[in-house]
């Protein structure tokens, strides 16, 4: 009874719901109160006790149906041997000696021919537990676990008998062999079904997590088209994680600095005797980010993810400006706000992404048209390789930008080994940056943004 519950909780955890031990205890108490008898009530109750967010509730709805898919409640599983050793239907082949092999084959034959779904389900459950099917991680392990279940059911004895029958070339023996083969495939089908269901419960989420981690760690310009789709989900998840982490703004009291005006006001009721003392508070800036992105061919893929990331964060970073440039700088916040993301990106690449990259010109345009967007609260985020086609990098303007802004963060898709080679001006820009880092994967992006937001917490 408890076993079914703890395994279910484990399934929830693998799928990404953070169920704490205290909640597991609550679930056990709920089970004692409600019982297994009413399925819907149990589902509702566990949803109240175990799932604490909308996503967790969805997860629970899906997994509950998969996991408790059997019509019979689990507490009606007949006791395993030990309680009654004389039970003919034995499924623990490993600890029985060869003399009983014949019994096992008969029992299995009987099981396959019984047409009793309930009995079959119970047998599968026990064989599944013996074979450790709950450990399944990948779809490719299905055949292996199904075989182990069959072994636990005593299929070896049955196969032995089948071999014997096949060797005897009489018609009765052949018919008997056919019967055995049918029984074997029937049980195999059931086992496979059982394993597939368990994979949905325990394996699917684990596989997903593994694939997502792999994608997040891969260099962005080496992603295949299929990875791109997955990446969108990964980026959305990361953005959410960042938003949660940085939405918890802590107020900092400036202990020691008395706010005289508010103290007088608070104590007017006590005839001005200061019972309540009010201290001054530190003012916190709201995050303000101006992203300047090089959208020339070599960097475009990175820009896509950075902007996707930034716009996924729009709840946390309300004040967000986005500029794109190749040979001239354009404000692209408008299209990003009004068009769908894909359409906006296509528009940006088409409108801005032609011509040779010119960092100096971009800086001139920035000063000309959008200088007032940069103030002492702003973090200027530059994404580019710093390859300016041998034009004047205009370090003087860049120095001014650094002076005006709170921080200047440069993310470079090129590895540090290539910085400064050929037409790369990045090393000359470096002294003015608060932070310059190599940014190749989604994880790098997340880290950089996390650090930027941290400066505002």
């Amino acid at each position: 009874m408890e076993r079914a519950l703890t395994n279910y909780i484990r399934a929830l955890r693998t799928a990404g719901a953070a169920v704490s031990p205290s909640e597991a205890i609550d679930a056990a108490r709920t089970l004692a109160l409600i019982g297994y008898a009413e399925r819907q009530t149990l589902k509702d109750s566990l949803s109240v006790v175990l799932a604490k967010t909308a996503e967790e509730k969805d997860l629970h709805d899906r997994l509950f149906d998969l996991y408790f898919s059997r019509a019979t409640p689990s507490n009606e599983i007949p006791p395993t041997h030990g309680d009654d050793g004389g039970e003919p239907e034995s499924d623990r082949s490993s600890d029985k000696d060869a003399g009983e092999g014949g019994d096992q084959a008969d029992a299995l034959l009987d099981l396959a021919n019984s047409n009793d779904a309930n009995r079959m389900a119970v047998a599968m459950e026990r064989a599944g537990a013996a074979a450790g099917v709950d450990q399944i991680r990948f779809a490719s392990q299905g055949a292996f676990f199904a075989r182990r279940m069959l072994e636990a059911l005593g299929v070896e004895a049955l196969e032995q008998r089948l071999m014997d029958r096949l060797r005897t070339r009489t018609p009765e023996a052949q018919a008997k062999a056919q019967e055995l083969m049918d029984a074997r495939s029937a049980v195999t089908r059931e086992a496979r079904k059982f394993v597939d269901r368990r994979f949905e419960v325990f394996g699917r989420a684990a596989t997903e997590t593994f694939m997502n981690d792999a994608v997040a760690n891969r260099a962005i310009d080496k992603l295949s088209l299929r990875d791109m789709e997955r990446m969108k989900a990964v980026v959305a998840k990361m953005a959410k994680r960042l938003a949660v982490r940085h939405s918890r703004r802590r107020k900092v009291r400036n202990r020691g600095h008395l706010d005289i005006r508010r103290t007088l006001r608070a104590n007017a009721g006590y005839d001005g005797v200061p019972f309540e003392v009010v201290f001054k508070r530190k003012h916190r800036d709201r995050p303000k980010i101006v992203a300047i992105c090089d959208v020339s061919g070599s960097v475009a893929a990175y820009v896509r993810f950075l902007l996707m990331f930034l716009y996924a964060l729009s709840e946390t970073v309300a004040d967000l400006g986005a500029f794109a440039f190749a040979h001239e700088l354009r404000d692209v916040s408008g299209p990003l706000k009004h068009l769908t993301f894909e359409a906006a990106m296509d528009y940006i690449i088409q409108e801005v992404g032609s011509g040779g990259t010119d960092y100096g010109q971009a800086l001139i345009d920035l000063r000309e048209h959008s200088w007032d967007q940069i103030d002492r609260r702003t973090t200027v985020l530059i994404l580019g390789d710093g390859r300016s086609n041998h034009t004047d990098p205009r370090l003087d303007i860049f120095a001014e930008v650094a002076d005006r802004a709170k921080r200047v963060v440069w993310l470079c898709p090129e590895p540090p080994g290539r910085w400064g080679s050929g037409d790369s001006e990045i090393l000359r820009y470096r002294p003015f940056c608060t932070r310059l880092s190599h940014c190749a994967t989604a994880l790098d992006l997340e880290q950089a943004l996390d650090e930027i937001l941290l400066a505002y917490d």
């Binding site: 953070a18 205290s22 609550d26 819907q40 009530t41 109750s45 918890r248 006590y270 005839d271």
Partner: protein, 318 residues
């Protein structure tokens, strides 16, 4: 802590549903389950969902049907323990010191020397920090109820994180610690309900201590029952059309979807205008009752005709 006998209204999940229906709250199975579990597991319930689906009303109705007093704690930014837990009655303390000045003078008059006076006064030093001078706020009040109570902590997401931390002791152990007096345990653990509109993510510690109930917009049948319970005068045909219309509007891409409270307001409005059936002009004129944003009203006004037709058709089918 003493345990009261289980109230009739909490003896089973069905009893909860019935009890709530008795006071005009149309419950669902999951809502009743949550209330039932909250009592039997002695755990607070955190209720989330869109604004106006009856989160606060659930707490009010539970209190009403169990005949418990409802203690309501409205949260807001800057809420602190002096507003939520307890406060010393400074004014009274001040007044009493003035009045008792004479008495103290008499008391220490026969003591000679500072040490003796001090020793005499030491016997009285707890006088001004006793229950006498303690002003209980909702949370402390809920601990002091002897006949059971419902404690509603409304819109917890509006409060600061410090306040969340302050709640943890109450939510898990049903006790409050006042440094000058000690720990005050609940006479009878109150049924605690917290509501949140999810304007910010609540802390894990808080979530893990609570049962979690998500109330969503009701389906057509439940919505009809709710409006019928709240506006009994409404005719069956208008009710069906009205609910069908609202259900359609919820499928549209709007910035603020209408809730149950808006449906009820609209039902009252239409009743006041003596309408027996939905018609496009009247719908267009009263859209501002169910929609609260100008852009939403404009986009729906354009579709009013089609939506009304669909709603009437859907109502006939149902």
């Amino acid at each position: 802590m003493t345990a009261l006998p289980i109230p009739i209204g909490l003896s089973s999940i069905e009893a909860v549903t019935e009890g709530l229906a008795g006071v005009g709250y149309i419950s669902t199975r999951s809502i009743s389950t949550a209330v039932y579990l909250a009592h039997h597991l002695r755990k607070p319930v955190l209720i989330e969902g869109p604004a106006g689906v009856g989160k606060t009303d659930l707490a009010r109705s539970v209190a009403k049907c169990l005949n418990y007093p409802l203690l309501r704690m409205q949260c807001y930014e800057g809420l602190d323990e002096s507003k939520a837990l307890y406060e010393w009655k400074y004014g009274k303390q001040l007044l009493y010191t003035q009045i008792l000045k004479e008495k103290i003078h008499d008391l220490v008059a026969d003591a000679d020397g500072l040490d003796a006076s001090f020793a005499k006064l030491a016997d009285f030093q707890d006088l001004f920090f006793s229950r006498e001078f303690l002003e209980p706020r909702p949370l402390l009040k809920a601990m002091e109820q002897t006949g059971g109570s419902v404690l509603l902590i409304d819109e917890i997401d509006k409060s600061d994180e410090e306040f969340e931390a302050l709640l943890l002791e109450i939510l898990s152990d049903y006790q409050v610690t006042v440094p000058e007096i000690g720990t005050i345990e609940a006479q009878v653990p109150p049924l605690v309900m917290l509501t949140s509109n999810a304007t910010r993510e609540l802390g894990d510690a808080l979530k893990r201590r609570c049962l979690h109930l998500h109330i969503d917009f009701p389906d057509a049948e439940r919505e009809r029952l709710i409006v019928r319970a709240r506006v009994p005068e409404i005719s069956a045909s208008l009710l069906a059309q009205l609910v069908a219309f609202i259900q359609l509007v919820r499928g549209e891409n709007l910035r603020k979807l209408p809730s149950i409270s808006e449906t009820i307001d609209w039902a009252r409005t239409l009743l006041l205008l003596h309408a027996d059936a939905l018609e496009p002009t009247m719908v267009r004129e009263t859209l501002n009752v169910i929609l609260k944003r100008q852009s939403d009203i404009l986009s729906m006004a354009a579709k009013a005709e089609a939506l009304t037709r669909d709603a009437v058709k859907a109502a006939e089918a149902a």
